[in-house]
Each structure stands twice: as structure tokens, then as C-alpha cells.
């Protein structure tokens, strides 16, 4: 058969066979913990976490320990699930977050007691260990513009509570949800904002600066607070628990690699608040490469000035000087190429898998029409799950990295392909179907030789829709460590680095156009000539 599904499948298979060898090896390590593998160091998606993780990584590398970096994992749950599942070996975490967001316990006592508590519970419940604290605290900081503070005479959160009904807040989604965030804070201070908008970690400082919101949350060592000259309101009722930073280490590393654990422990007690603010300022405001800032910091701590040749997502922020954007992109060409390739792999593999399931499924549904609408509705329901949520669901099942992202993207691709295929074959030229049946085609022959080729344009429309959606959604896969063009976007967002964001977003948009154009050509090949004429005329 020249037309129809066979050709679509073959082409898709060819595309994926071409890219799969590149896709597979990178992540099998995460899938098979029993094999010797590098120490996987992760971070959450904000500057300080990137920096600390990079310091962990370089310190390990200075001792000849191989490291794999997974910067910018979603939020607390994503990073913690990744650590628990063994996909990640260590990441910087804060004791207060461990107590409230992970253990779901009430805040209690001073820093030492909280550390002792999380240490005990994490060991008992999860087999994880907190290394001794790094030496600084990074608690929540509620900030306002300096002029707002002056106008309302705001110095503390109690002051804020009196004028909050006139102010709008932009808070990270994480903060709005968690017990140690907005709900608890509102109770403690009787806070009622005029409005609360969920804003990304990095966007909200800009939103505050531009006047779009009046109050934001953040961390007390955020460099951007100093850059914009915001006023941090004092937590006069001591609502926020202590947030001591420490390396949180997974079971595998504790069991198999005591040397790596010992090396990481060297950082304990070495950092303080002011050091961190300066380092964060360099990363967040001056957009210095994280690798360099980490190297300098380790050097100053006499923990070695390690050369780091490996390209990291953090390295991507090397916003060298004031060169043009094109020159900037050119400077990033190596990592951009790798990220684009990874992006294509994510989209290609998930799309092929989507075609392999959705196409036969939809053709089956044509034969079992009673099951069709319920089945399609379930697939449609998958589309309504927020991308970041579906990505997070994948972590306990598949760890972090390439494959869980592929599974999530695959789930998203099913509905457009199945719906368009089903509608296409169901509504295929009724006169032709009737004649084919009446002249003695079996139902399978009608499906194969009449309905499917006539539905080719509709099937391809579904595949194109799924492909373009996946190119966009795949940018979010960076939050579970899958890489791709989302990596510079996520890092750029975390560091408020517009050029870095654009260096991921523009290629992603371009990729969407190219993928659509390529599939338009495939559509021309798979669509029977007279149907093609009909649309062209």
C-alpha cells in the first residue's frame, strides 16, 4: 500500500531510529542504579541552589570523583522525589523546608533542634542524610519596594498586615501552597492581600520592580533584593522556621561511596549569610557564569580552585559582556546544539511512541465505535493535567531525566493523534465506503484501503498538532532534568537572565516551525494525490 498509515509509521520510525542512539545511553544510568555511575548532583531551579550544587560538583571533581549534573529540578517535591527514588544522589536543601514541606510538621525550636529533628526523621523514614549545615540560613524574605515601605512605614510583617488589603502580592506557586508559606503566614499575622498572583521565582522580582505587584516572597540571600533595593520586612513574630542550608544525600551514595560523602562534608560550616549574598549577587545580578562563581568561592575557601571543562546548564549563563544577541548565541553554540538535539530527541521519541499507540488505537475504535467516545474522552482528560504536574508524577515511576519526560510528552501526544485519526476514518467519504463494502471488501479492507488513506490529511493534522504541542511542552521537561531547550529557559528564569531565556525560547519556536514544515511535507507524501489537489485548488 502506497498511502496512509504505513507510510506515516515508516517515516516516523526512520526519524526515530536516526536519533535514538543519541537518546538512549545518556540516561540509562539513571534507570539502572546497580551499575557504577557518576555521582548525580541536582539543584532546585533558583540561583543559590544552582550555585551550591555546582560547588558540590566541582568539589567532588577536584577529588577525581565523576559527577553528573542535574540542575534546576522542578520544585521541592521534584528534587526530593528524585533523591528518594535514587535518580539523584545529593542536592542542596534547607532544614526548614525539610521539616515543613516534606515532613509536614509544625515549626519548632531553634536551628539546632530543627536540624536534629530532620536528621532523625529523614534517616528513619527515607534512609537519607543531611550533612552538617553549610553555615548560613536562607529563610523566607517578604519584600516590598522601598517607596512602598516608606509610604506605609513598613518595617515588619506585622506592619504589613495592617495595609495588606490595599496591596497585591506575587508569590511563587510553591509558597502559596505549602504549610510554611502563605497559609501559615496569613494565620500568624492575619494577612489579607487585595490579590494573590502565582508568579515564577524569577519573574516576581521584576513584577515587583515594575509595580505589577506590591509584595513578593523570596529568600533572604537573594542577590536581586540588593540589586533592586527592595526592603525586606522583618519576621517579628518569628513565624518562619530556621532554614539552614545543607547537602541532602541519598541512600545509594551513603552506602556505596563514603568518600564522596566525606568530600561533600568539607563544605559544612564554611559559608555564611554575607558570603552567600555576595555570591548570589554575582550570579543573579551580574550574570556571571555559575561555574566561575563556584570555582572562585571554592578557591577562597581553600577547597581548591578547580578547573571545570564540562559544559553545564549553569555555564549557559555566561552572559559575557555586552556583545550582540547573535554573538551571544554563537558563543553558546555548542550547548545550544546539544540542547536542540536533545529537544528533538524528546519530541521525536515521544511523538513516535504516540503514533505507535494512538494510530492503531483510533483505527480499532473505528471498528468498536461504542468504546470510541469514552476512550477518547479519557485521552482528552490527560491534556487537562498541567504539564509540570504530569512531569512531576513521572518521577516516582521513572526517576528524573530523559525517559520520564518522554513518557509525559507521549501521554500528551495521544489525544490529538487519536482524535484526528478517529474522526478522519469515521467520516471518510461515505459514498466510497458504501461502494467498497457493497462490492465485497471486508471491514478490515475498508479500513485499510479506503478509510485510512482518505483520512490521511486528518491523521497528519493530528500528528502535526501533537508535534508542535510537544516542542512547546518539552521546554518544561528541563524541570525534571531532561535537558533540551527548556534548560536555558529554566536557568534564565531562575537567574532573571533575559538573553539566556531567549536563547532557549527562540530556537524552540524556530524548531516548532521547522517540525511543522517537515510534517507538512510528510502530509503531502501521505495524502493521495486527488485529495491533495482538492485542498490545493
Amino acid at each position: 500500500m502506497k498511502f496512509g498509515s504505513a507510510v506515516v509509521l515508516l517515516l516516523a520510525a526512520a526519524v526515530v531510529v536516526a536519533i535514538l542512539p543519541g537518546a538512549a545511553p545518556a540516561d540509562t544510568a539513571a534507570m539502572r542504579p546497580e551499575r557504577a555511575r557518576p555521582v548525580v548532583i541536582a539543584s532546585k531551579p533558583f540561583g543559590e541552589s544552582y550555585l551550591l550544587a555546582e560547588m558540590f560538583a566541582q568539589l567532588l571533581e577536584s577529588e577525581g570523583i565523576e559527577v553528573q549534573r542535574r540542575p534546576g529540578l522542578g520544585a521541592t517535591t521534584v528534587a526530593f522525589d528524585a533523591l528518594r527514588s535514587g535518580a539523584v544522589d545529593a542536592y542542596p536543601e534547607y532544614t526548614g523546608t525539610g521539616l515543613l514541606a516534606i515532613l509536614h510538621e509544625e515549626p519548632r525550636g531553634d536551628a539546632q533542634r530543627v536540624f536534629a529533628e530532620v536528621q532523625k526523621q529523614f534517616t528513619e523514614r527515607y534512609g537519607l542524610r543531611w550533612l552538617p549545615p553549610l553555615g548560613f540560613e536562607n529563610g523566607y524574605a517578604i519584600s516590598v519596594r522601598a517607596e512602598t515601605a516608606q509610604r506605609y512605614h513598613l518595617a515588619t510583617l506585622s506592619d504589613l498586615a495592617t495595609v495588606a488589603p490595599r496591596l497585591s502580592a506575587g508569590l511563587s506557586p510553591d509558597f502559596i501552597q505549602r504549610a510554611d508559606g502563605l497559609p501559615g503566614l496569613s494565620r500568624a499575622y492575619g494577612l489579607r492581600f487585595q490579590s494573590v498572583r502565582p508568579l515564577d521565582q524569577a519573574l516576581k522580582y521584576r513584577a515587583l520592580a515594575s509595580g505589577a505587584v506590591d509584595v513578593v516572597d523570596g529568600y533572604s540571600t537573594d542577590g536581586l533584593i540588593a540589586r533592586y533595593d527592595f526592603t525586606v520586612l522583618r519576621d517579628d513574630l518569628h513565624f518562619f522556621p530556621p532554614y539552614q542550608a545543607a547537602a541532602l544525600v541519598g541512600a545509594r551514595l551513603l552506602r556505596d561511596d563514603p568518600r564522596a560523602v566525606a568530600v561533600l562534608t568539607r563544605l559544612s560550616g564554611m559559608l555564611n549569610d554575607s558570603t552567600m549574598r555576595v555570591l548570589n549577587e554575582r550570579v543573579e545580578s551580574e550574570h556571571q557564569p555559575i561555574a566561575r562563581v563556584a570555582r572562585d568561592a571554592l578557591h577562597d575557601l581553600h577547597l581548591g580552585g578547580v578547573r571545570n571543562d564540562s559544559a553545564t546548564a549553569a555555564d549557559a549563563s555566561s552572559g559575557a559582556g555586552r556583545s550582540t544577541f547573535l554573538a551571544y548565541l554563537w558563543g553558546r553554540r555548542a550547548s545550544l546544539a546539544a540542547q536542540t538535539l536533545r529537544h528533538v530527541e524528546l519530541v521525536g521519541v515521544s511523538l513516535l511512541a504516540g503514533i505507535l499507540l494512538a494510530l492503531p488505537l483510533a483505527l480499532t475504535l473505528e471498528r468498536a465505535s461504542r468504546a470510541a467516545e469514552p476512550t477518547l474522552r479519557v485521552l482528552g482528560l490527560l491534556e487537562t493535567i498541567p504539564s509540570i504536574a504530569i512531569l512531576a508524577f513521572m518521577i516516582p515511576l521513572f526517576g528524573v531525566g530523559f525517559w520520564p519526560a518522554v513518557v509525559a510528552l507521549w501521554l500528551y501526544s495521544l489525544y490529538p493523534i487519536a482524535r484526528n485519526t478517529y474522526t478522519g476514518v469515521r467520516d471518510a467519504d461515505p459514498a466510497a465506503v458504501h461502494a467498497a463494502r457493497a462490492l465485497g471488501m471486508t471491514p478490515m479492507q475498508v479500513l485499510r484501503y479506503v478509510r485510512t488513506p482518505l483520512a490521511a490529511p486528518s491523521i497528519m493534522a493530528g500528528i502535526r498538532t501533537a508535534a508542535v504541542i510537544n516542542v512547546g511542552t518539552a521546554t518544561l521537561a528541563a524541570f525534571i532534568g531532561a535537558g533540551g531547550l527548556g534548560e536555558p529557559i529554566a536557568t534564565g528564569l531562575a537567574l532573571a537572565d533575559t538573553r539566556l531565556i531567549l536563547s532557549g525560547a527562540l530556537p524552540a519556536a524556530l524548531l516548532a516551525l521547522i517540525v511543522d514544515a517537515v510534517l507538512a511535507q510528510v502530509e503531502r507524501w501521505t495524502t493521495p494525490a486527488p485529495l491533495r489537489h482538492r485542498t490545493a485548488r
Binding site: 467519504d429 459514498a431 461502494a435 463494502r437 457493497a438 462490492l439 465485497g440 488513506p453 482518505l454 494525490a529
Partner: protein, 246 residues
């Protein structure tokens, strides 16, 4: 081999509360052309489709050369019967030759292209000119000729015409009617044609069956039908056709 004979024995079919066919008994001789006429909803198309089992009767039996059609393999049965649907029903993504060779190809006949060529000649369309065209590159009349060729390319000697020429202009329709008449002269063919056009029925058929609300009102030769309508409905139908003609 002579063309098959047909018989309907007390054939009934209901769709819910609607009796599409009520106890129809009728026979068609080998080589005969029977026209079924009646208004929309009279049951004429349902009766036709009982022959190639696009419709399965609720009661009664259809026999083809004396054999119970419901006992035959339905796919084989359909491949052995030529069928021309209302709009022609050509597969738009197949070229003319491939459309015509459909049934031989389904049977796995290696000479399908040759059979297609013969059938096209039969309906007056030379393969050299028309074989490689797409259906949408043909005129309405040509499309219907191709549909007739497709119905005969498998060597079928029973042909069902399901309101075949209704959508065509009067001149083209007449050409096609003459073509069907000539086909009958050239090879043994039993034909059942459903039409709402009494003149077409009178012109083509040896006998005409008039259906009304699922019941067979009368079966007779055109001459007898015109001279002695059996029921007031048949008389009414004929009178109206006369009126329409003038």
C-alpha cells in the same frame, strides 16, 4: 453460464416501528431486468440491498439461483454481484483502472488490469484515455460509466443499480440508459434497478415492480402496468408521471 435467477419469499424488514418491507414475494428470471419503483421510503432500496446483504431481512428469504443468500459467505456473495450506487461511489484516491479492477483485485486475480481494461471498453471508455485519470477528472456521466464497468469487471452476471443515474442531466441519463440496454444485448445479465423515474423503469425493464410503504403493489410488464394498474396507488403513480411529462 446463464445469468442467475432471483426470488424473494415473504421478505420483511423493520426499522423500529417502521415496516420498510412487509411480506414481499417476487421473482426475477435469469437474464431479466426488473425495475423497482416507488416513492422515497417505499422500501425499494431496502429490497435491492437484501440481495447483496447490505440489509439482512428480519423474515423471509432471498434466493439466488435457488440458494438461500443468507447461507452464503457475505463477502464472496458481494464480490459476485455487480453493484452501482447512486453517486457512483468511486474511490477518490484510486485511479480509474484501479477502481474498475477492484473486484478482480480483491479476489487476487493476476489479470485484474486486463479485466479492468475489458470492462472499460464495454462502457465505451478506452483505457488509454481514461485508465490513468482520477475520478475527479471525469464528467458525471463518465463517472457513472466507470461505476458500471467496476460492477462488471469481475465477470458478474447479476447487477444491482441503486438509483444509479438520478443525479445526471436528462441527456446524459438517456445515454447511460441506452448503454445499459446495450450491455444486456452483449452479455447475459440479470439486472435489478431501483429508480424513482417511471420512464426509466419503463424504458429499461422487462417487468416493473411498484412498492408502496413496504408492500409490493404490482409486478408487471410495462405494457400491462400501463393498461391495467392493479391498485389505485399504481394508477395514481402512473397518472402523476404522465402529468409531470406534459
Amino acid at each position: 453460464m446463464p445469468a442467475p435467477s432471483l426470488s424473494f419469499e415473504n421478505v420483511s424488514k423493520s426499522y423500529g416501528a417502521v415496516h420498510a418491507l412487509a411480506d414481499v414475494t417476487l421473482s426475477v428470471d435469469s437474464g431479466e431486468c426488473l425495475a423497482l419503483v416507488g416513492e422515497s421510503g417505499s422500501g425499494k432500496t431496502t429490497l435491492l440491498r437484501c440481495i447483496n446483504r447490505l440489509v439482512d431481512p428480519d423474515g423471509g428469504m432471498v434466493r439466488i439461483d435457488g440458494r438461500d443468500a443468507s447461507a452464503l459467505d457475505v463477502i464472496e456473495l458481494r464480490r459476485s454481484i455487480g453493484y452501482v450506487p447512486q453517486e457512483g461511489g468511486l474511490l477518490p484516491h484510486w485511479r480509474v483502472s484501479r477502481n474498475v479492477g477492484l473486484v478482480p483485485w480483491l479476489r487476487g486475480a493476476p489479470d485484474a488490469p486486463l479485466r479492468a481494461e475489458e470492462a472499460l471498453e464495454l462502457v465505451g471508455l478506452p483505457t488509454a484515455t481514461f485508465g490513468e485519470r482520477w475520478p475527479d477528472e471525469l464528467s458525471g456521466g463518465q463517472r457513472h460509466r466507470v461505476a458500471v464497468a467496476r460492477a462488471l469487471a469481475g465477470g458478474q452476471s447479476l447487477m444491482l443499480l441503486d438509483e444509479p443515474f438520478g443525479a445526471l442531466d436528462a441527456i446524459t441519463r438517456h445515454d447511460l440508459q441506452r448503454m445499459v440496454a446495450e450491455l444486456r444485448a452483449r452479455r447475459p445479465l440479470t439486472i435489478v434497478i431501483v429508480t424513482h423515474d417511471i420512464h426509466e423503469a419503463m424504458f429499461l425493464a422487462d417487468r416493473v415492480g411498484v412498492l408502496h410503504a413496504g408492500k409490493l403493489e404490482q409486478v408487471a410488464t410495462p405494457a400491462v402496468l400501463g393498461a391495467e394498474p392493479a391498485t389505485p396507488y399504481v394508477a395514481h403513480l402512473l397518472a402523476r408521471a404522465e402529468l409531470l411529462r406534459s
